[in-house]
């Protein structure tokens, strides 16, 4: 899918339209969705997070 390079320079790349979160896990307090877990899990797998924040894509 076509992604605007400007969007890659966002300080929050997880809002990009090409990124999706699926599923839920149970906790002692109930269910937690993937989007609620994204800061912990999805970010770990995104190698460009720090680079995006530090140096805009050209």
């Amino acid at each position: 899918m076509r992604i605007q390079i400007e969007a890659l320079n966002s300080t929050n790349p997880l809002d990009l339209p090409c990124i999706r979160f699926e599923g839920t896990v149970s906790t002692n307090e109930g269910y937690l969705s993937a989007s609620q877990l994204r800061d912990d899990f999805a970010l770990a797998a995104m190698p460009f997070r720090k680079h995006w924040a530090a140096s805009p894509v050209k």
Binding site: E22, M46, P47
Partner: protein, 310 residues
């Protein structure tokens, strides 16, 4: 754009083509890529994250040894005492996978509640590196759809040629037995489709390793981090999945699409050494020493685990 591997119609002024990246909370450690003509989807399950998190103390113990030793002999590894908690953590991962397979429900707090925050913090950087390699590997499967005509097939031909040379030469420095080498050679020789599938996986491993090193800034420390992560991926995650399938789930492993973890690591290192113009011995013990150490160490530890499984 001249000289780029990427087709002109796959990027333009102000835009680029990317696949959809899906992060699923599925607790099984799997990742895969669906490739279409114009679109693709890269799936990464959080199971990798959960599995590595459950191995926090083990990975911290390995990091201590990799980061604080300039030289480690095989004799030392053979003689080393594996802490009880290392074996316990590995057995706990096998149990976690088994529970997930039979129950289909996953309570994150029950599964990961015993992980100590300090142990997690010690290995969090390594965990991220392993996840990055997985991300880059899967993305490499997709990249073929945006490459110029001939680029991917040239890469594939080069990888297959390397594999042919690996098949005809056994090198003990790659740390696999002669029997394992010969068994892999026979398996590959029997079916050309298997060789092509293995070549694609190995090609994606090589591209992922290169991309992860570049993403880390290309420094010697970044390279060591990537080799460490590669070692953890081959020696612990993939090897452990093979142990789980054969010894816990009672499944016959199929290696038609993916090589066994030890063979995969050996071929990747062989090709990386050849591409760098290194001897296999120099590459294994000087360039990628951290990965070699973890592979050897992992085989020693998983041997203990297999002994416990009976």
């Amino acid at each position: 754009m001249h000289g780029s591997r990427i087709r002109d119609d796959a990027r333009g002024a102000g835009w680029i083509t990317l696949p959809e990246f899906v992060f699923n909370v599925d607790p099984t450690p799997q990742a895969f890529t669906l490739v279409g003509d114009e679109v693709g989807v890269v799936y990464t399950h959080c199971g990798f994250f959960f599995t590595l998190t459950k191995l926090s103390r083990t990975l911290g113990w390995i990091l201590d040894r990799v980061e604080n030793s300039s030289e480690i002999s095989f004799d030392e590894i053979e003689r080393m005492e594996v802490p009880g908690y290392v074996i316990q953590e590995i057995l706990a991962v096998l149990q976690m996978w088994q529970e997930m397979e039979v129950s289909e429900s996953f309570n994150i707090e029950r599964m990961l509640g015993e992980v100590e925050p300090a142990a997690f913090a010690r290995m969090e950087h390594l965990l991220h590196k392993v996840c990055h390699i997985i991300f880059f590997h899967e993305s490499a499967h997709w990249q073929r759809t945006i490459y110029r005509a001939g680029v991917w097939s040239d890469l594939e031909t080069r990888t297959l040629n390397h594999i042919s040379r690996w098949m005809s030469s056994y090198d003990p420095a790659l740390l696999i037995s002669r029997e394992s080498h010969d068994a892999a050679v026979n398996f590959l020789s029997a079916d050309w489709a298997v060789a092509r599938s293995w070549a694609e996986e190995i090609q994606c491993d090589l591209l992922a390793s290169s991309a992860a090193r570049a993403a880390g800034g290309g420094s010697a420390v970044a390279a060591r981090d990537v080799y460490t992560a590669q070692g953890v991926l081959y020696a612990f995650v993939m090897q452990l999945q093979e142990i789980y399938d054969t010894r816990v789930a009672g499944r016959e492993p199929t290696h038609r699409t993916h090589p066994p973890a030890d063979i995969r690591g050996a071929i990747v290192h062989y090709i990386d050494a050849m591409e760098m113009g290194q001897t296999v011995g120099d590459y294994q013990f000087k360039v990628a020493g951290a990965c070699t150490y973890i592979n050897f160490c992992g085989a020693r530890i998983l041997g203990d685990v297999l002994g416990r499984l009976g």
